[in-house]
């Protein structure tokens, strides 16, 4: 193949599969939050109309500590504080992390997505 045409051919082949996962951009943390969390949790700091507690100011916050929200006894008495390790364990499988909690949830994110989301969430004030 002509050396000049070869890059063009490669580009054409790639563009025909341009939407395969390997070439897709990873979802941003905002998108991950939007899809996986935002229906039940705001990014505020006080209890609101969402069914789950707000996630603003989460870093080092004791689990089950937002006033006005009705937590499970399991979460309230867990002694957990939110950090990267605890949040990742929680996101991986809430039932395994703290049995009998109230969050009926199966995380649809990959481990890599969960890691980025957890880091991002803990930065939200």
């Amino acid at each position: 193949m002509n050396q000049c045409l070869r890059p063009l051919a490669i580009c054409l082949v790639l563009s025909s599969f341009g939407s395969l996962t390997a070439l897709a951009n990873p979802l941003t943390e905002e998108q991950l939050y939007d899809i996986a969390c935002s229906a039940c949790h705001s990014l505020g700091q006080t209890s609101d109309h969402h069914i789950g507690p707000p996630l603003g100011g989460l870093l080092n916050r004791p689990a089950g500590a937002v006033e006005g929200y009705h937590y499970s006894e399991a979460l309230r008495s867990s002694g957990w504080r939110w950090s990267i390790p605890t949040l990742l364990a929680w996101l991986a499988e809430p039932d395994a992390a703290i049995p009998n909690n109230a969050m009926n949830y199966v995380n649809p994110l990959t481990a890599e997505e969960s890691q980025r989301l957890a880091e991002w969430l803990l930065q939200q004030q």
Binding site: Q31, S38, A39, L43, A96, A102, V106, P108
Partner: protein
């Protein structure tokens, strides 16, 4: 992407501070990607709204002339009773958030009147159940009303985790509800009463015991947060209508899909009208009986699964009662029967002196009724009603027959899992096939019903975005 930004502000509320940054970002790298969503029920609309928010060009196509799928408010009847999904569980966070954001008012449902019992033709007042001669239960069980017998399963519920209901390890021990209930010591009379009005299987032989555990466990969890069960004040269908009203492109109504073809770079959706829609991805949300009619060129094993999963059968006859005929006799106003009538649920129509009364028949008992023409079916159910409750006849008008199995766009009310099937069929049915993605309550994991539909739409949108961003 001004419109995306506008809707995002509207929808996100407290998330608004984030909006400016992410909206410009999403426009940069995802605009121009086309997604067709098949089905304008809750799952399809939720997926479409998420994808539009992030810059995708979304076209929802809907076979019916209305949105909502298996939400169907009977607006032509007094009190607008629900012909489809009627209960918004107290932990339906996605549903409540959507209703809040779209300003769709919710209310606590008017209380369904207390239920008395008929065993055969024998009337048993609810307070007399334990001592009634017609109560077929043995000692130790007699004080459990027939509509609470299934709840006793929770005493042995092994499903401690949300996703355990399709855990292959637990499913290895799954069995039919019939043999499972016997093994647990449920007396035959109790099993018969459970089978008479089982909302979660067409018959106990083909019902998975684990799936019943799942349902019972979910009911337990519904009472977790201190919130109440809700319904949309003006009818549940107002929620999907409000959702569709938010879409940039209107739902294409009356547009059943005939075929979906995929090539290496594009997916083509062919409507029954002959019109074709090209897309980068398709989200298929239809329930399996409706999905079977579409030529999708699925792998053989996957196509076979579509036929193997059963759907629950429900027949409803919606009536309006002018005068509470039950009061003089000291009855509660609702009935549980082990006859053709199944259950009769009655509740007041707010602001009036009238009542909605729904005859609710489940499972294989529906088969004969589904085979009748509409007039004969209504006549058959009405006669049975007048026979058990002669006083109802003069003050009750029949409004609407609903037969979900006969609806070609539904084929039933929800997916049922046969013994052992949840571990295999559930995961397989939601796996993408090329650029064809699947949503709908049958693909949901944490929830069932309306919230399950919403959850599945989120997951399908995520899968599409992973491929197309």
């Amino acid at each position: 992407m001004t419109s995306t930004l506008t809707r995002r502000r509207l929808l996100e509320g407290s998330f608004a501070g984030l909006v400016a940054g992410v909206s410009s970002g999403c426009a940069d790298h995802s605009s121009g990607r086309k997604v067709v969503v098949v089905g304008a029920g809750l799952s399809g609309l939720n997926a479409a709204l998420i994808l539009e928010r992030w810059g995708f060009e979304v076209q929802v196509v809907e076979a019916r002339e209305r949105v909502g799928g298996r939400l169907w408010t009977l607006d032509h009847l007094p009190g607008s009773p629900e012909g489809g999904g009627n209960v918004m569980g107290s932990n339906y966070g996605r549903i409540f958030k959507m209703a809040h954001d779209l300003k769709v008012p919710l209310r606590s449902p008017p209380r369904t009147l207390p239920s008395d019992y008929f065993v055969g033709a024998t009337r048993i007042p609810r307070d007399d159940w334990a001592s009634a001669a017609a109560n077929p239960l043995p000692n130790g069980w007699r004080n459990v009303p027939p509509n609470r017998l299934m709840g006793k399963l929770n005493a042995s519920n092994p499903l401690l985790k949300t996703r355990a209901w399709h855990d292959p390890g637990l499913m290895a021990t799954d069995q039919s509800a019939l043999s499972g209930l016997r093994a647990l010591g449920f007396p035959d009379a109790a099993i018969q009463l459970i089978g008479a009005n089982n909302s979660y299987g067409n018959n106990l032989e083909e019902t998975s015991l684990m799936s019943l555990y799942r349902v019972m466990g979910e009911f337990g969890r519904l009472s977790g947060p201190a919130l109440a069960v809700k319904e949309v004040t003006q009818g549940n269908m107002r929620l999907p209508e409000a959702m569709s009203g938010q879409l940039l492109r209107p739902v294409e109504m009356g547009a059943p899909v005939n075929a979906i073809q995929q090539s290496s770079s594009e997916t083509k959706v062919t409507l029954a009208s002959g019109k074709t829609l090209d897309a980068d991805a398709v989200i298929m949300t239809l329930p399996l009986p409706a999905l079977r009619r579409i030529d999708m060129d699925l792998p053989a094993a996957r196509a076979a699964l579509l036929d193997e999963v059963d759907y629950h059968k429900v027949v409803q006859l919606h009536c309006t009662v002018e005068v509470p005929f039950w009061e003089n006799a000291g009855w509660g106003g609702s009935w549980w029967t082990d006859s053709l009538l199944g259950r009769v649920f009655t509740r007041p129509i707010p602001g009036t002196t009238r009542y909605n009364m729904t005859v609710w028949i489940n499972g294989d008992d529906c088969e004969d009724l589904n085979a009748l023409d509409e007039a004969t079916c209504i006549d058959t159910i009405s006669r049975a009603l007048w026979e058990l409750m002669p006083d109802a006849r003069e003050v009750t008008s029949v409004g609407q027959l609903v037969r979900w199995t006969n609806d070609p766009h539904a084929g039933g009310v929800w997916a049922l899992w046969r013994p052992g099937q949840a571990a295999t069929a559930h995961a397989a049915l939601r796996a993408p096939v090329g650029r064809l993605f699947f949503a709908g309550e049958h693909t949901a994991e944490s929830y069932r019903g309306m919230e399950g539909a919403m959850e599945s739409g989120e997951r399908a949108a995520l899968e599409v975005m992973r491929v197309l961003m």
